[in-house]
């Protein structure tokens, strides 16, 4: 505990938001080390003082996993780091990750009262600080040991939804096995999000924490191929399917099969999961000198910033809408600009141009203008006549979304899917197969890490109730019965 005096409300309001220390743009544009360096203890304590400890905290409503934000911040500013860490970990299984990749500006921080006049509390930075401290001091955390429930749960996919569900279910004493198609656990956290935004040893440490809590991970297990979903349902008391969306969407324009055209999935997987940015990796990746990335989301930003770090003198985003419509996190766009990425707005590709050797030489595009809002409320881009132009480039990365992968679902005839091939669930996350739950991108379509984690947490709660025989779940009844059962066994 600190002996710092309690601040007056006026002093509190006078504190301005601390800035996240980061690597200089010109330096980081040529390395893969993390951009954000993390708050110092001093900065974290100052920022924690800015929280007003609202009696009705809106920030919690903005969080898909409902982290009790004022509670962990209160512990933090009292200097009680173990208390802050226990509080945070109780709500969020992967805080080191969410503290780095959540779009806080549209979630917790977007609803922070201090944001009404001035800058919101840097909740994401504080979360990261506490989470990193917890990862470095496991011996000072509360012992989460729990009596085994005797129940088994299979989780398909080790991305954010699967890892979160695994953590929550292990906390209830269930015997959890995660099946992962790749050779390493983490899903999009390891194949998609680059090292400079989310270091892989951080993900590994979060995975290790789950393994220490008793979660088993079977790698190289492709459900739909190695085992089928009905087989898993027979072997386990419940199943949670969180395989992600998993198929790349291409532009469907001429020249897309030229050498030098990658899906973002392929490009990022080669660089991140396979480590192609490191000399000791055997996996090759093309090092474009002039790289165009098509798309405006976080995956597009990750791709274009990766290309820059792999030596692209020119790294360009081509997006068919305007700056205000970019779906990427504000920080990613800002960082990309600082690193010298060029943005071409209101431009839509119509052809990939190549040479006689079959290599990309350019991207032919058409100017767009924004028309009426579409059903999603975003203004629809419409082509401007006679506005074609070609951007010279030697590599094109297509980052315009993903669609559902039928590998698992095609071997589960009793699983209801919607017209796009995503799994249909009820309000508790259960599919048409009793005891089989689903969440994340394979239910909602491509979304964010934190929304997938929210699904994982909710589904874990529902699975817990299901295993306790309380169905449909009646709020805490499932938890209570499960706890009683666990205590009795």
């Amino acid at each position: 505990m600190t002996d710092r005096p309690e601040l007056t409300p006026k002093e509190r309001m006078a504190l301005d938001r601390v800035a996240m220390p980061e690597q200089a743009a010109e330096l980081r544009a040529v390395n893969f080390r993390e951009v954000n360096l993390g708050l110092t203890e001093q900065l974290a304590f100052i920022e924690a003082e800015r929280c007003l400890q609202c009696p009705k905290p809106y920030c919690i409503d903005g969080c898909p996993v409902r982290v009790n934000i004022p509670r962990f911040i209160k512990h933090l500013r009292e200097g009680d780091l173990p208390g802050a860490a226990d509080s945070l970990l109780d709500d969020n299984a992967l805080p080191c990750i969410t503290g780095r990749v959540c779009p806080q500006e549209t979630q917790c921080e977007g609803l922070c009262l201090r944001g009404k006049k001035g800058n919101p509390v840097a909740i994401g930075h504080l979360e990261r600080f506490v989470a990193d401290w917890a990862q470095a001091h496991p011996e000072l955390l509360a012992d989460g040991a729990v009596a085994p429930s005797g129940r088994t749960v299979a989780i398909v996919g080790s991305g954010p939804a699967g890892l979160t569900a695994a953590g929550e279910l292990a906390k209830r004493g269930h015997d959890v096995t995660i099946f992962e198609a790749f050779h390493a656990a983490g899903g999009v956290l390891v194949y998609g999000i680059p090292e400079f935004r989310l270091p892989k040893d951080i993900v590994q440490a979060e995975v290790n924490r789950l393994v220490e809590a008793g979660v088993k991970i079977e790698a190289n297990a492709i459900i739909g191929k190695t085992y089928t979903l009905p087989e898993l349902r027979e072997r386990f008391d419940a199943v949670f399917v969180a395989v992600g969306a998993g198929l790349p969407v291409f532009m469907d324009v001429a020249g897309e099969n030229l050498k030098g055209v990658y899906s973002a999935n392929e490009y990022l997987t080669r660089v991140n999961l396979m480590g192609a940015w490191q000399p000791e990796s055997d996996t090759p990746v093309l090092h474009g000198q002039r790289v165009v990335v098509v798309g405006g989301g976080n995956v597009a930003m990750d791709s274009v910033r990766t290309a820059r770090r792999l030596g692209a003198a020119e790294a360009v985003i081509v997006y068919r809408r305007g700056r205000d419509e970019l779906p990427a996190r504000a920080e990613e766009v800002h960082h990309a600009e600082q690193e010298g990425v060029r943005f071409e707005f209101l431009l839509s590709p119509i052809e990939v141009v190549g040479d006689e050797g079959g290599w990309v030489t350019g991207l032919r595009c058409q100017r767009m203008e924004l028309g009426e809002p579409d059903e999603g409320g975003r203004r629809r881009p419409e082509p401007v006549p006679d506005s074609e132009l070609t951007i010279d480039c030697d590599m094109v990365v297509v980052a315009i979304g993903t669609r559902s992968n039928p590998l698992l679902t095609s071997t589960a005839p009793d699983l209801d899917l919607n017209q796009w091939g995503y799994i249909v669930t009820d309000e508790y996350g259960m599919t048409s197969m009793p005891g089989v739950f689903a969440g994340g991108d394979i239910v909602r379509g491509a979304a964010t890490v934190i929304l997938a984690m929210g699904d994982g947490k909710r589904s874990a709660k529902a699975i817990n109730a299901y295993l306790a025989g309380v169905w449909p779940p009646t709020d805490e009844a499932g938890d209570a019965r499960a706890a009683a059962e666990a205590a009795a066994s």
């Binding site: 198609a181 790749f182 050779h183 790698a219 190289n220 297990a221 492709i222 191929k225 190695t226 998993g246 198929l247 790349p248 291409f250 897309e256 099969n257 050498k259 990658y262 899906s263 999935n265 392929e266 997987t269 080669r270 396979m274 480590g275 490191q278 000791e280 990796s281 055997d282 996996t283 090759p284 093309l286 079959g358 992968n405 039928p406 590998l407």
Partner: protein, 288 residues
């Protein structure tokens, strides 16, 4: 971890590894493949399951050493381990159930033909395998194929069996007899030539495409091939397609994406090996 149980040198650059993988040995079907990753830092490589022994809990992988990653794999000895083996991936071969099938194998593609010939033989189909290589030492798996039907061997230099390409032997077979299906696996020019040979006769022809892959589950799209004018993913929709509809030019072109990397890696590897070469691999199978 998957232990190497046995190793055999089938030709100067083709090696067979018998690998522990009990579950895969149980469930794999002809035409399916695995993705293998030797260890940390290694590439993920798609390899056809050439054979399996469910009782012993093993699968056979037949590997042609073409780049650093395959060169690392073929150096493995019995007792060594492969860290990751994922599968079985891809669609099983559509095997005919009656009549006469010709299985054409070129080079390491002969290993992909073996499980197809076995499956056809099990179905009661009359199987003729046509396999070839530059010269006698490059012809592989002849005895294994002979256990499943007739075998015609061809060598470019005439040092063994018929002189000439497998396509010439196939042309004679087409001439002589009603053929109900052709299965052809080998270098792209060979699969193209076979498809062109059978096209005018309307003989259904299945080819197996060795497109570049990372995950093998449809996620990366790197293995896209054009079949009947449509993009298809070789990893999940293939690897076998109708040879009469495949765009072989595109396949051959895309296979060259990393050629400069491969050449550089090979050169580097050769330079690093000076004075460090292992003893020559045994001619016969080494079991432990």
């Amino acid at each position: 971890m998957h232990r190497i149980i046995a190793r055999a040198q089938l030709s100067p650059n083709v090696t067979r590894l018998v690998v522990e993988a009990p579950h895969l040995a149980e469930i794999r079907q002809p035409g399916q493949f695995v993705i293998v990753r030797l260890g940390p830092g290694a590439e993920r490589i798609p390899l056809t399951i050439a054979d399996a022994d469910p009782a012993a809990g093993t699968i056979s992988l037949v590997i042609q050493s073409i780049g650093k990653s395959t060169a690392d794999l073929v150096e493995l000895q019995p007792g060594d381990e492969i860290r990751d083996v994922a599968g079985p991936l891809g669609q099983p071969t559509e095997l005919i159930t009656a009549g006469h099938a010709v299985c054409v194998g070129g080079g390491v593609g002969t290993a992909v033909i073996l499980p197809i010939a076995q499956g056809l033989h099990r179905n009661g189909v009359q199987v003729t395998s046509v396999i070839g290589g530059r010269s006698r030492e490059w012809v592989i798996l002849e005895d294994e194929l002979r256990a499943n039907g007739e075998v015609v061997t061809c060598t470019d230099d005439g040092s063994y069996g018929r002189a000439g390409f497998v396509t010439q032997a196939l042309a004679d077979l087409i001439e002589a007899d009603g053929i109900d299906a052709v299965y052809a696996v080998g270098p792209v020019p060979m699969m193209r030539a076979v498809s062109e040979l059978t096209r005018p006769h309307g003989i259904p022809t299945t080819v197996s495409l060795n497109a570049i892959m990372v995950d093998g589950t449809g996620m990366c799209g790197g293995c896209r091939v054009s079949v009947d004018g449509e993009n298809r993913y070789a990893c999940v929709e293939g690897p076998e397609f109708d040879g009469h509809q495949v765009d072989f030019d595109l396949l051959a072109d895309r296979l060259g994406t990393y050629r400069t990397f491969e050449q550089a890696a090979n050169e580097f590897r050769e330079r690093c090996r000076v004075g460090l070469t292992r003893p020559a691999p045994a001619e016969s199978e080494v079991a432990r």
